[in-house]
């Protein structure tokens, strides 16, 4: 099978390893970004030098020398170049983030496709949509800003420390002593922050579940006229979320404050130290005699020393976001690695007789339902009954070839075959589930699904499903794009479009997983009548259903139990 074979990336144990692996997609961009950072720090030092020598010559030296136009030019050039290098860093980082995000998305999608329905129930579709469409999207900052800064947060302060130590060792010592303190404190704050953000995430999820649930079931609250009380409950949970958010922010602000404190206090320390030195209160720390030149140079550098660290502090949350994304990807990868694959594609004959003998789904350590046996001939209809959780959906998936079987045999026209992941079998199956599977694409694309059909064929299928009037009344007709926000299609109408797909593709075996569960009585009965007309043309049908009213419609009945 193609998708599983392309899991070419190594297996990652830790999120950091995965992130490091993917950052190699932009190694050259990162090198450029680092270089630009070094240009910035060089310009900072040039600037300090310029200002110091201009002031020293004009104010301090006995022989006054006022700045020339060349001095002004150098000063301006240093300032502008420093700003431009920062801009360049953004451009390069953004380009890098584009490549890395693409690679991550491909990585995630490959694994989703290799697993297809076996993704569930370990994952749910909302969580995966968030991973592919939100969390990976959000990583621009991490790849564009944080990764280049990681290296620069060491290099830039080092360069400044070096420059300062050429002039004075006390100031260099002030820098050298405070820097490790800053780092230690940042690590401590990071620990505290990850605890707080885990709690925060939990509160967010609680609030999200509550909101989604109460909006979904709003009607019962409206009928009981107690929506106001429910709004008060929501406010309470919203307040809990606010408090836990503030807890996270307090840690973030605190670490920001510490950096700010070191930055401010080092300016103050350097200023006071230099002032008292000049006034002759003491005479330590310098290689030569200190003049205004040295003083200005050092004071200009003092706030710059902490700048990269401060920036890193503000970007630190990006790292935890990236880590949590990487954790999810690793979880997905591990599931994909354990999943079985088909060895080779078999030639599967056109289905005329389906025999199932002592079939069980699942695996040896987790069998899903009791063994089932039945035989189906063209035009026959089988009802699958059983309580929720008995494994009806899993059995249907196994019969579709989407999940591996654990025990028993399936024969097609008397030939025993392994139908798992066989394209020749897939092509003969139709599947309708409780919630109609419709893509957010045009109705035409939803019906054809990659095959070629004329408009007349599409209309005929829609007519057979009794949905042609509704579709033709939609803006754009067949080209109407189904979406969440349109609101034009009701649940019953969407189910009938899925049914039209069946009439169009005419599968030999139709699998139905409680397709009428969300329909009202009238719509459900009309739906069953349409199905009846389809099976008359010679197709087989297996349907899982709870609805007692559906029962008279079937030829065979099987009761599934979860007990083994």
């Amino acid at each position: 099978m193609k998708p599983s074979d392309s899991l070419s990336e190594p297996e990652f144990q830790r999120p950091v390893a995965l992130l490091r692996y993917f950052s190699r997609y932009a190694r050259s961009d990162n090198a450029v970004a680092t270089l630009l950072g070094l240009v910035q720090v060089a310009m900072t030092i040039t600037l300090a030098y310029c200002v110091a020598s201009m002031l020293d010559g004009a104010v301090f030296q006995a022989e006054r020398s006022y700045p020339q136009s060349s001095d002004w030019l150098l000063l301006t050039a240093a300032l502008v170049l420093r700003i431009a290098a920062g801009y360049g860093q953004t451009l390069v980082g953004n380009r890098a983030s584009l490549k890395m995000r693409q690679a991550l998305r491909r990585y995630a999608l490959q694994r989703c496709f290799a697993l297809n329905v076996r993704l569930f129930p370990q994952f749910n579709s909302a969580e995966l949509s968030n991973l592919i469409a939100t969390e990976i999207d959000k990583q621009r900052g991490y790849f564009a800003d944080y990764i280049p800064l990681q290296r620069l947060a060491v290099l830039m302060p080092l360069a400044i420390l070096l420059a300062a130590s050429m002039v004075n060792w006390v100031v260099a010592l002030i820098f050298a002593f405070t820097a490790p303190l800053v780092v230690v404190f940042m690590i401590l704050a990071g620990w505290k922050a990850s605890d707080a953000s885990r709690d925060n995430l939990q509160q967010l999820n609680r609030l999200g579940h509550l909101l989604a649930d109460r909006l979904k079931n709003l009607q019962c609250l409206q009928l009981a006229q107690s929506t106001e009380q429910e709004a008060d409950r929501l406010f309470e949970q919203s307040e809990n979320y606010r408090k836990s958010t503030m807890e996270v922010l307090r840690v973030a602000f605190l670490s920001g404050t510490v950096l700010e404190f070191f930055s401010a206090i080092s300016v103050a320390l350097v200023a006071v130290y230099l002032g008292l030195y000049f006034l002759g209160k003491y005479d330590v720390g310098s290689w030569g005699t200190l003049g205004l030149y040295e003083g200005v140079f050092l004071l200009m550098l003092a706030p710059e020393f902490y700048l990269p660290l401060r920036r890193m502090g503000t970007l630190y949350h990006m790292r935890s976001d990236a880590t949590s994304m990487a954790e999810q990807l690793i979880r997905l990868d591990q599931l994909a690695r354990t999943a079985a694959r088909a060895d080779q594609q078999l030639a599967i004959p056109s289905l005329q007789r389906l025999e199932v003998d002592q079939l069980r789904s699942g695996s040896a350590d987790k069998p899903v339902h009791n063994p089932v046996s039945f035989t189906l001939l063209p035009g026959q209809k089988l009802l699958l009954k059983g309580p929720s959780g008995a494994g009806k959906t899993t059995l249907l998936d196994t019969l579709a070839g989407l999940r591996p079987r654990y025990q028993g045999e399936i024969s097609i026209n008397g030939l025993t075959l392994d139908i798992f992941q066989q394209q020749g079998w897939f092509a003969q199956i139709g599947y309708l589930s409780q919630k109609p599977e419709l893509l957010f694409a045009s109705i035409r694309d939803n019906l054809t699904l990659g095959r070629q059909y004329s408009d007349a064929q599409l209309q005929a299928a829609l007519h057979e499903a009794r949905i042609d009037d509704v579709v033709n009344a939609l803006p754009g007709g067949l080209d109407y794009v189904i979406s969440d926000s349109g609101g034009y299609l009701s649940g019953g109408q969407a189910q009938r479009i899925a049914l039209a797909r069946v009439f169009l593709h005419r599968p030999r075996l139709l699998l139905l997983d409680e397709p009428t569960a969300n329909l009202d009585q009238d719509t459900a009965m009309a739906f069953m009548e349409r199905l009846q007309s389809y099976t008359r043309s010679g197709a087989m049908l297996i349907m899982a259903s709870h609805r007692p009213a559906d029962q008279q419609f079937f030829d065979v009945e099987i009761i599934l139990s979860g007990e083994h």
């Binding site: 999207d137 649930d213 307040e239 602000f253 404050t257 000049f278 200005v296 706030p303 009202d520």
Partner: protein
């Protein structure tokens, strides 16, 4: 201003104490930061000059500037913490309140004719609502700080270095007025596009992941995945274009602010050469302007943040209808009665009306079973009586004790993710005895006792999920507890075992003997003699007594 924007500013005003404190602290922090740099610059220059001769070195008062430097550095640090804390606290309180209020607005409206997009509503109320924090935190507050800084800088220049003003003012205008305007123009449009692209991408991903079976069977997974990857790349590209444009505007603003510092520094030198300015103050002016520049660069995103925040409010506003739906029925006080006069109704999307000028009345005490072929309008009738639909013409008159509206058991029984008790009481007070009594009536008492925590067992998504028939009986139990004069039931027995349904409805017929009950059903076995059978038709209903 839209009603929701007004509501937001009203809520912000309620928290004005904290909001203003945040602004005040932000200004103090900015001023302390700039002053720290300026005083340090002056102090070391002055000390260096004083140190040239022994006499001046002894006379130099280093205590005051030293204390000022320390004071400013501590003020800046603490001020920053306080500012961030109070400003976020204030804005999150507003958001929290707004979230609950929005739910209230949504809940006041009937969602029968217009479908509510639940996923979108939930995600808006959860996440999108956070974008409005930018109105206060990233727009109003920094605007005050920038304004104060500009005023302070211009005032000090005017008083102490007036000759620099003609040079400084145009650069200030460029950096603080022109660039934010440019930034907004460059950013808003692409930002909106990006928002739409990302929403479309999420929805496509979600539809793809929930159509795994169909796509696998039709071998369309790879193809759809490729489509998704392309869509996502287009989004990334759009995002990067936006960020690059933002950064370009910022680049220009930074260059103007750097030039401002150079110009002021230069004018300070000129003034020093002319003897107007002391030598120690030249460096001070450079650091002062550089410090102001760091604050003023924050001016760029202010306008855009404000508009993005207001746009988020507009998106929230779009969730709720322009006006609350009016009560479509006429409710009066008296003995139970429902009367329809010349009632017509048609669904907006369907060519033929369901009812045309129907006249009928239902009087208490009485039990009316509404029957008819599929699609004849049984559920539509119940929805009209329940006030969920507005008749196209004609009137629905309802009379009941203290004009209380009828209670409805809908076809789909909502199960909240909450305890069984909460699911039955729905925020009203009922004793355990009363609850057990109605559970007994609908034969859920043994079921309740078999649950792991009885009445306190959690039901709903991801918890204990009742079967279709159990859910219907929970719906009946709710109705029994609500105990209105008029009861409306939409397919109450669908999905229930026939023998069980007959037992339960026999008991209900006794229990509700004095009430007006209107129920629709396909199942004629539930009807008991003496009850009324109503056959619905487009323009007339026929009514007969069950024998």
């Amino acid at each position: 201003m839209t009603p929701l924007q007004k509501h937001y500013f009203g809520l912000l005003w309620q928290h004005k104490g904290m909001a203003l404190l945040g602004v005040l602290l932000a200004v103090i922090t900015a001023v302390a930061g700039i002053a720290l740099l300026a005083v340090s610059g002056w102090f070391i220059s002055a000390a260096a000059l004083a140190g040239l001769t022994a006499v001046s070195a002894i006379e130099f008062n280093f205590l005051t500037p030293g204390a000022m430097v320390r004071g400013f550095s501590i003020t800046r640090t603490l001020g920053r913490y306080g500012e961030r804390y109070t400003s976020h606290e204030a804005t999150f309180r507003v958001i929290s309140r707004l979230r609950a209020d929005l739910f209230r607005f949504l809940a006041r409206r009937h969602w029968h004719e217009v479908q509510m997009n639940r996923h979108e509503s939930a995600s808006r109320l959860l996440q999108d609502i956070q974008h409005i924090e930018s109105i206060y935190v990233s727009a109003l507050l920094p605007a005050v700080v920038v304004l104060a800084t500009v005023l302070g800088l211009v005032l000090s220049l005017a008083l102490l270095l007036p000759q620099a003003l003609p040079w400084a003012l145009p650069l200030l205008v460029l950096a603080v007025v022109v660039m934010p305007w440019l930034y907004t123009r460059q950013v808003l449009q692409p930002q909106n596009q990006l928002h739409q692209l990302r929403v479309a991408q999420w929805q496509f991903a979600s539809s793809l992941l929930s159509s795994m079976r169909t796509l696998s069977l039709h071998q369309q997974l790879e193809h759809s995945g490729e489509q998704l990857a392309q869509q996502a790349s287009a989004g990334d590209q759009q995002e990067i274009t936006t960020v690059n444009r933002q950064q370009f505007s910022m680049l220009l603003a930074q260059i103007f602010l750097a030039l401002l510092a150079v110009v002021v520094f230069w004018q300070a030198f000129v003034a020093y050469q002319q003897g107007i300015l002391a030598g120690a103050e030249v460096f001070m002016w450079l650091l002062l302007t550089l410090g102001c520049g760091e604050v003023l660069i924050g001016a760029c995103p202010i306008l855009a943040s404000l508009r993005l925040g207001l746009a988020a409010l507009l998106r929230l506003e779009a969730l709720q209808p322009a006006q609350a739906s009016p009560e479509p029925r006429q409710l009066t006080e008296g003995a139970g009665l429902i009367r329809l006069q010349q009632l017509s109704y048609g669904y907006p999307s369907q060519p033929h009306p369901v009812f045309q000028q129907v006249d009928v009345s239902f009087a208490a005490p009485g039990w009316y079973w509404v029957c008819g072929a599929s699609g004849s309008g049984k559920s539509t009738l119940i929805a009209l009586l329940a006030g969920q639909l507005q008749a196209s013409s004609g009137t629905v008159q309802i009379r009941s004790a203290s004009a209380r509206p009828p209670a409805l058991m809908p076809q789909r029984i909502d199960i909240l993710r909450a305890s069984l008790r909460d699911n039955l009481c729905l925020h009203h007070d009922h004793s355990d005895e009363a609850i057990m009594a109605v559970l007994h009536l609908v034969e859920l008492d043994y079921w309740t006792q078999s649950l792991p925590q009885g009445l306190d067992t959690w039901l709903g998504d991801g918890e204990w999920q009742p079967s279709g028939g159990e859910a219907k009986r929970i719906g009946l139990a709710r109705l029994l507890l609500q105990d209105a004069d008029i009861m409306l039931l939409d397919e109450p027995a669908a999905g229930m075992d026939t023998a069980l349904a007959e037992r339960i409805f026999a008991r209900l017929a006794q229990r509700w003997a004095g009430k007006l009950v209107i129920a629709n059903t396909h199942d004629r076995q539930l009807m008991r003699s003496g009850q009324q059978l109503v056959e619905v038709g487009r323009s007339a209903f026929t009514c007969k007594t069950v024998r």
